[in-house]
Symmetry: C2
Subunit: 220 residues, 2 copies
DNA sequence: GACCAAATACCATGAACATGGTATGGGTGG
DNA sequence: CCACCCATACCATGTTCATGGTATTTGGTC
């Protein structure tokens, strides 16, 4: 990291704030401010033209969202990092920014942002995130787990043979083909299938496949 | 929050560290240190007996994981908060802690943890999280989005009638039942089914259901 | 602990019967 | 032209019933 200055793009539509951030970055010897943009258009141009290590961007811009800038950056410079500095703290903005590829997210109201520390963090593979923003991520992840854990469906247990057969009928094999593949008699196949029906409370092949898919017994 | 002191449980097996943290909390007028525990057993007892606002816990304890303490807290005091202070930064530990209900997660190696700030943060509904830990959450969320957005499959178009029929065979209806439900002739049903087979490149009911489920044409 | 019988679960088979799949026709309306 | 509808008929396939073999587990006795 200390080998060469970090090439940084800064995007922020509010002039005083942008100049303040720019002066902080400019005063640091570890960084080189490639572009200081006040809207999306300038940012796109900066992304197209230069080698970039880091994009620091606001979200609400006069001609669109900073998230689009992050997406453009990810497309053009996959190894570059992106960090958001915004007043927005709603779930939609935060999650969309993360999805687009942002690794850091600082709230503007944070008292005296330590920008250089944040830049060092994000370039070292960490994620500087304001505690209010982090709560959005935490809630999202704990909710996810909660809901996926809430589906307490007691799925019936199928024997290995039954699983083989089930996979076969999902693939559309006939009794004969199935018997061939499993090296058993053509007459044995239906017996397993019958047991499958009982366990899945189905009464024919298609219903069994449907239930199996619903219960996650076969991978689609 | 300023009305009454926060009732806090502190769990940390390393004596010097625990005493240092305890002294920090003790020196703050806004908190009351209800219990200072060095293992899981003591923590469980403290959770059972008292009113609690916040649990601050290490993860690696001599008799188990602090995550179990968090789960116990969530069961007994649903409105209480939990915060982790640990050296562990692996994905498993972090996500399990979040899932269990932790709202904050500080790395022990953080230079001079500002514990009081972190406590204020977590009790104000924010999530104080070290940047290295935050990266785990960010990666998790962006990966999720990436994989769910990657499914770009061009699924065939079914007519309304065909969709009806498809749903019917997934439910295991026979030709006759299907004809009855849709008020059409029993002989017409196979025609639609045949068209479905063509579009889905299937050759029988079960394979059609399987393909339809895989393509997301029927909701499980 | 060693032994054996009963119970259980899984796998297998053949024959009789019901259903599904396919190939023919053709007809209506947008 | 396409989506939808109806009809007849043949044959392959799926479904059910009745039955037996094998391995593992259970529980009791010596």
């Amino acid at each position: 990291m200390a080998t060469r200055p970090l090439k940084i793009i800064l995007t922020e539509d509010d002039d005083p704030i942008r100049e303040r951030l720019a002066s902080i970055v400019g005063a640091w010897s570890g960084a080189e401010l490639c572009a200081s943009c006040s809207n999306l258009e300038e940012t796109f141009a900066a992304i197209e033209n230069r080698e970039i290590d880091l994009l620091i961007t606001d979200l609400r811009l006069p001609d669109g969202s900073g998230i689009e800038a992050i997406r453009a950056l990810a497309g053009k410079h996959p190894n570059a990092e992106a960090m958001v500095i915004s007043v927005l703290a709603d779930e939609r903005s935060v999650l969309d920014a993360i999805e687009a590829g942002a690794s850091g997210y600082l709230l503007k109201d944070a008292d005296s942002i330590d920008l250089i520390d944040a830049i060092k963090d994000v370039m070292a593979g960490r994620s500087p995130i304001s505690s209010r923003i982090a709560r959005v991520l935490v809630r999202r992840l704990s909710d996810r787990k909660a809901e996926s854990g809430a589906e307490e469906i007691d799925r019936p247990t199928l024997t290995t043979r039954e699983t083989d057969i089930l996979w076969g009928i999902a693939k559309g094999f006939t009794y004969g083909e199935l018997a061939d593949k499993l090296a058993i008699s053509r007459q044995t196949v239906p017996v397993h299938i019958r047991n499958i029906y009982r366990k899945l409370q189905a009464s024919n092949r298609s219903e069994a496949v449907f239930e199996a898919a619903r219960l996650g017994l076969i991978k689609l």
